[in-house]
């Protein structure tokens, strides 16, 4: 087995430390990262959308590609500065100020090395095997550019040496990051998909995604989703590879020891400061206390018992050999006798553990009565016999539980006496005046019966609504539409058109029904007896179609 220092920290530990490192990172560093990531992402998505659809995209391709190139180098520079600051924080080194010259050195290295990655990475992904090394190398170039003192050859060498280190760890790290990336992209996709629906629901704004759910397959939607997901994951990737580089370089320069010593020095300083603040009293408090036992000292025997009890707990005995549990005399018993003895002991232990709360209660009551001025009785005939009381209570509990079980069994298995059928409650008639009435509140026949009754009563407007709901219930029963509260009449129309494509007359009839219903229910059109009869006929035709 390799020593931990040679094998490197496990990938999960690396990710955990990376998250911790990011939590300690000040907002300014994230601002640097964002200054590079935001313009490039926006420009890339704009480029994507432009090249996908714009009429004169070809004419603009030359300059647009140059714009993206400069923003790409800027992105890598900002990422490199961000990662270098992370590395400095991980190694607890004092980071020198970031002068313009230092920025330029990093920029030149990124401009020299990163464009190669653009071609190498897709090829490595296709070939599959070298992908982990190429990816690690590109990340190492980002992290170590600042340490190469402006020499791209030196940066290349450093990054190459680091990427060959601990390949198993690198592959595990990539696997975990891939899963995290997948989840991030999925989350971004869900958010991007639901945002327009929220806009429609809250503000009534229609967008392409709300008008056509098929836009999910749009290439720009996919590009946006992937870009947002990977953008969210990028700081974690940089932190993880910064820590990998830190551990890798520590093998040669002992940087990890220096970082630990730095922490130790800080800790010592803090401890000294705390001691100083607490003053001389605390120092005196640390002096040895004279061995005068304070009142209420724990008895020696009691302490021994308590220690033994704790040591017999499951948290200490799990490593002990099994034989210790068997007392010496039981070793000659047969396996069946030992089994019964074990059951007996387990039951006794369970009873003891159940008795303990009652014992505490009786002790507490004894203490209270003693404190009240009534001297605690010392003679057995006046004492509260806690053991007997607990035993009595336990038996009582057993009897009660057994009684409940018997009663329950009797209820379950007794022959069911014929009971009088409760009068069936009639279906609740929905209030058709209400704004939201769902078509699935009544079956199709229920709506038709209600509509007929309302027609007889002369309430034609409500009758028309009942007829319309009957039509919806009918279509839902035939699975031509799916009823939902948030859907409008137009949504149902569109859905029916899609699902009943082979029968266009059905969609046409329903469209006429919707139009008539909207005129009466939402508009100011009055409905007369002839009108309602025509509407009913239309609904009937729809049901027959």
């Amino acid at each position: 087995m390799k020593p931990a220092r040679q094998a490197g920290p496990p990938a999960l530990e690396l990710i955990e430390n990376a998250v911790h490192l990011l939590r300690r990172t000040p907002a300014f560093d994230f601002l640097i990262w964002f200054a590079g990531a935001a313009p490039f992402t926006v420009a890339l998505l704009y480029f994507w959308a432009e090249m996908s659809r714009a009429a004169f995209a070809e004419a603009r391709l030359f300059t647009a590609a140059w714009g993206l190139t400069f923003l790409f180098v800027w992105l890598k520079t900002c990422q490199s500065v961000f990662a270098a600051r992370l590395l400095a924080r991980a190694s607890a080194a004092d980071d020198a100020p970031w002068t313009l010259q230092r920025w330029l050195r990093v920029l030149v290295i990124q401009a020299v090395l990163q464009p190669v990655v653009l071609f190498l990475l897709p090829v490595a992904l296709l070939v599959t095997v070298p992908f982990a090394w190429v990816f690690a190398w590109s990340q190492n170039v980002v992290v170590l550019a600042d340490r190469a003192a402006g020499r791209s050859g030196e940066c290349l060498r450093l990054a190459w040496r680091q990427c060959r280190l601990w390949p198993g760890q690198n592959h595990s790290l990539l696997s975990y990051l891939s899963v995290a990336g997948f989840v991030a992209v999925l989350n971004a996709g869900i958010a991007v998909y639901h945002l327009p629906h929220l806009l429609k629901m809250l503000l009534g704004v229609e967008t392409r995604l709300t008008l056509s759910p098929g836009a999910l397959l749009n290439s720009t939607f996919i590009a946006v989703t992937i870009a947002l997901g990977l953008l969210a994951l990028d700081p974690l990737v940089k932190a993880a590879y910064a820590l990998r580089c830190f551990h890798g370089q520590s093998r040669n320069n002992g940087e990890d020891l220096r970082a630990r010593l730095q922490w130790l020095r800080r800790l010592t300083l803090l401890a000294g400061l705390v001691l100083f603040c607490l003053g001389p009293n605390s120092v005196r408090a640390a002096e040895p206390v004279p061995a005068t036992p304070p009142p209420g000292t724990i008895e020696h025997g009691h302490l021994d018992r308590a220690i033994t009890e704790v040591l017999r707990g499951a948290s200490y005995t799990w490593r002990e050999p099994r034989d210790w549990q068997l007392e010496e005399p039981t070793k000659h018993l047969s396996w069946l006798e030992r089994l019964f003895k074990n059951i007996d002991q387990s039951l006794k232990r369970a009873m003891d553990s159940l008795k303990a709360p009652f014992k505490r209660l009786t002790d507490w009551l004894d203490q209270i009565f003693a404190k009240k001025g009534r001297p605690a009785p010392t003679t057995p005939k006046f004492s509260l016999n806690a053991g007997a009381l607990v035993e009595f209570l336990m038996w009582l509990l057993v009897v009660v539980v057994a009684g409940i079980l018997v009663w329950f069994a009797f209820r379950v298995w007794r022959p069911h006496a014929p009971t009088e059928e409760a009068p069936a409650a009639g279906p609740v008639v929905p209030d058709l005046h209400a704004e939201f009435v769902a078509a699935d509140q009544l079956p199709e026949d229920g709506w038709l019966a209600l509509a007929t009754r309302l027609m007889d009563e002369g309430d034609l407007r409500l009758a028309l609504r009942a007829f319309y709901l009957a039509a919806l219930a009918h279509l839902a029963r035939r699975e031509l539409i799916r009823l939902a509260k948030f859907k409008s009449n137009r949504d149902y129309e569109g859905e029916l058109r899609r699902r009943a494509r082979a029968r266009p007359e059905l969609a046409l009839t329903f469209a006429g029904t919707v139009r008539e219903f909207d005129r009466v229910w939402y508009g100011s059109h009055e409905v007369d007896p002839q009108g309602i009869l025509a509407f009913a006929t239309q609904v009937e035709e729809l049901c027959r179609a």
Partner: protein, 49 residues
């Protein structure tokens, strides 16, 4: 005459041209792809029935 200082700018220039080539190729590929692919309706061309 010492020309060592020219190495990095030249390499950076070459890197920029390489990156430009990549994005130019990406743009060309996007232009070349049919509109149905961008709209997500390319599957309609498939003989499903």
């Amino acid at each position: 005459m010492e020309l060592g200082w020219l190495v990095n700018p030249l390499l950076a220039g070459a890197g920029l041209v390489t990156a430009w080539l990549f994005f130019y190729a990406l743009g060309t590929m996007l232009l070349w792809l049919p509109s149905e692919w961008h709209d997500g309706t390319i599957w309609k061309r498939l003989p499903l029935e």
